[in-house]
Symmetry: C2
Subunit: 478 residues, 2 copies
Amino acid sequence: MPEVTLLAYERVESKIEALIQKGTLRPGDRVPSVRELCRREGVSKITAMQALSNLEAKSLVQARPRSGFFVQSLSRLPLPQSPEIAAEPREPCLSDDVARVFRDIQKPDTIPLGAGTPDVTLLPTAEIARCVARAARLHATQFGGYSMCDTDLALRREIALRLSRSGGEVSPEEIIITNGCMDALNLSLRAVANPGDTILVETPTYFGLLQMIESLGMKAIGVPATCDEGIDLHAFEGTLKSHRIAASVLIPSFGNPHGANLSPQRRQAVVDISRKRGVPVIEDDIYGELGFGSEQPRPLRTMNHSANVILCGSLSKSLSPALRVGWAIAGRHAENVRRLKWISSITTPHVTALAAADYLRAGGFDRHLRALRKTLETQICRISNAIAKSFPQGTCLSRPAGGYFLWVELPWRIDSMKLRDAAIKHNISICPGPIFSLEGEFGHFLRLNCALRLDDKVTQAIETLGRLAHGLNSPTRS
Amino acid sequence: MPEVTLLAYERVESKIEALIQKGTLRPGDRVPSVRELCRREGVSKITAMQALSNLEAKSLVQARPRSGFFVQSLSRLPLPQSPEIAAEPREPCLSDDVARVFRDIQKPDTIPLGAGTPDVTLLPTAEIARCVARAARLHATQFGGYSMCDTDLALRREIALRLSRSGGEVSPEEIIITNGCMDALNLSLRAVANPGDTILVETPTYFGLLQMIESLGMKAIGVPATCDEGIDLHAFEGTLKSHRIAASVLIPSFGNPHGANLSPQRRQAVVDISRKRGVPVIEDDIYGELGFGSEQPRPLRTMNHSANVILCGSLSKSLSPALRVGWAIAGRHAENVRRLKWISSITTPHVTALAAADYLRAGGFDRHLRALRKTLETQICRISNAIAKSFPQGTCLSRPAGGYFLWVELPWRIDSMKLRDAAIKHNISICPGPIFSLEGEFGHFLRLNCALRLDDKVTQAIETLGRLAHGLNSPTRS
């Protein structure tokens, strides 16, 4: 901590703020009253009230009439409603729009509300660096080989072990270590589908997935997904019946961008329907360990009768993007995925796989995850409330129970592409809705990243976005 | 060195052996005479003669009548002649045979003559480990990001710098860091060709390339290549004219398996012909820095008018396979390759890219390469001579001027698949010829890896292979 002399109210304010940030006080919890603060902190009533009022201004707490102050819980804005989506297979085509979003993120001094990357301060980078340095030293001679399967066995065991805690029995043999989750998704898609084939995806869904399908010469067909329940099971089964689908790619846990977490019953239904129709499911589980509740969701691959599911995961969102450690747990497709990995890039570096295994084994991961989940929950809550305060009336908002993102539905008049153009002039990047679908639907939606370093600049940026949105909401504008 | 008491002749023998291994004495050089050895080493004539005769038994030196002993130069076996090859596009299909070769290599205690991997003793693994550990420590916070383009800029600069020494002007901007050379080839193929397209390859060529083309749903067409001149330019141009070719994939420097090194004139011709026909060339340059001569070959990408060439290289054969550092220098296709890299696996780990840059910058790479090249040359020479001694009459042999491999043509009766089956029972792995072509031609060829730790076991293995080959050469066998 830098040595600064805090005023009395600042000291009280930052104490409570720390309790909220660390999750000791959780959304909805009662904050110590003015009287308690006076007694415990030895401050005057005015000081205590100043502290609470500052916290309220930061959207960290809210006053409830005659009850005192409470940690802000999620805004009560209504949930977004998805527009009707195209029901026929298409070749995705959205490279230019996505490229623009990436250029936005990479601009220096831009507030990365459009990113999908965690802020470095949320990750234990020094510990990871130590694990990598140690692995390099201890396994120096391994730099001389291609790190065949035995080198990454330690990591595969750790991954199998973690899954076994959620009741999943997978063998280290069916795990293939990949260069992050995208590599796993890419190899899995190629293992079960061919160019020209049609892939079923949720809509809205992660734009990188649509780009990947496009780059492999495949087509995609969308099935609606909502922010509360996730993929529409009726439409899912209907599409599997009415179309020849080579594979589905779903994000059952804290979907990107909608944030929905499939219930255990719906998970089993997805597995059963897919099994009945003989269509493999590729499960993007990249946010699967980032649930805010007490239990983490069970991947599809650990449900009953899930041998036709390929689970794709990674440490990129939970530990380190740059480690580039991901995996495919490929059930009956394992041999095929392994062969494609070999043909496409031989293996991943042994040093990062060994470092990851070392980190997971050492046991600090769960502690780190607990802290990360709390931070994400608090930040999502704070940003939600800031949106509720600043955005035009009619704005709807997802209430994710995990992950990084908020999915915002603006009043229909507001074109999120135009909002992006306006925002970037204020050094604010956002992800406009149309890149999350095949036909550019979701024109008045946007995705906001909450895994950032939440400071005053961010809350100001939300205010600015709200102001810009108000400006675009005028009926007199073309 | 372990403390053993050497006999006098052993001492002399190992001194000369060391001079040859380190390249102080090169193939064809005269070895000190018996008289000189007596004087310089203070040994008896019998001792000196014993030492020389032992070296001759190891195929390290050869006696020339009335001239004394000379360091063995490459065997004078005739060069292999390629069989006629299929002249129509096919979908490659050789996964089972290749899988068998890989199983062979991975069996413990197998002599990896079938591998394409350098022995760990040939590589500066401790130095690499130090660079990786240092990069992890110095750039710890980078583990928090996705290592965008700025993180690997140092490596891209080093690569551009190395190329500039062979007269090539490439900008770091057109270099994309990949997960080894296979990743670079895969991305390059996808950048310039689509599923269903036809890719021109040399025949024989690297089986991994044929598998990759198969896995991308593309077809391949072969153009003959010889051990002395490389690809047949007339056939190359003819095929580009007569067929609709989406891209050529060539290995101009020390081709795998044939070992040929394209002359500068032929390199320029390949570039010019390809430019005239508007067909991109993907250049697999993985052995490009492993030439035994005083000058290393110039990649196609550095010739005139080569913007349509994509150079794919890596450190896997020259420094460390497990570092998984490769690159595509993609000329006018750079943007497309970069986009595909992003969609397929985002980036490579920053820590290995920074470590590689650090190693290259520190200047030890050239010293290491000089030593590696000498070792490879000596070992190729020794194994060649062992083959000449043990293999059936009629055996032909490549004379590579760089790289890892010998390409052996056995008498036509000998089925190299059967030789593989017999050899593996003796714990010897070999690469049978048919996997290097589209139609299983080269049935009596095999590829031998010389980048191994050359000890008595290896020379015995060559003898064993020779004996097995003799057995399969009998006209009475089915």
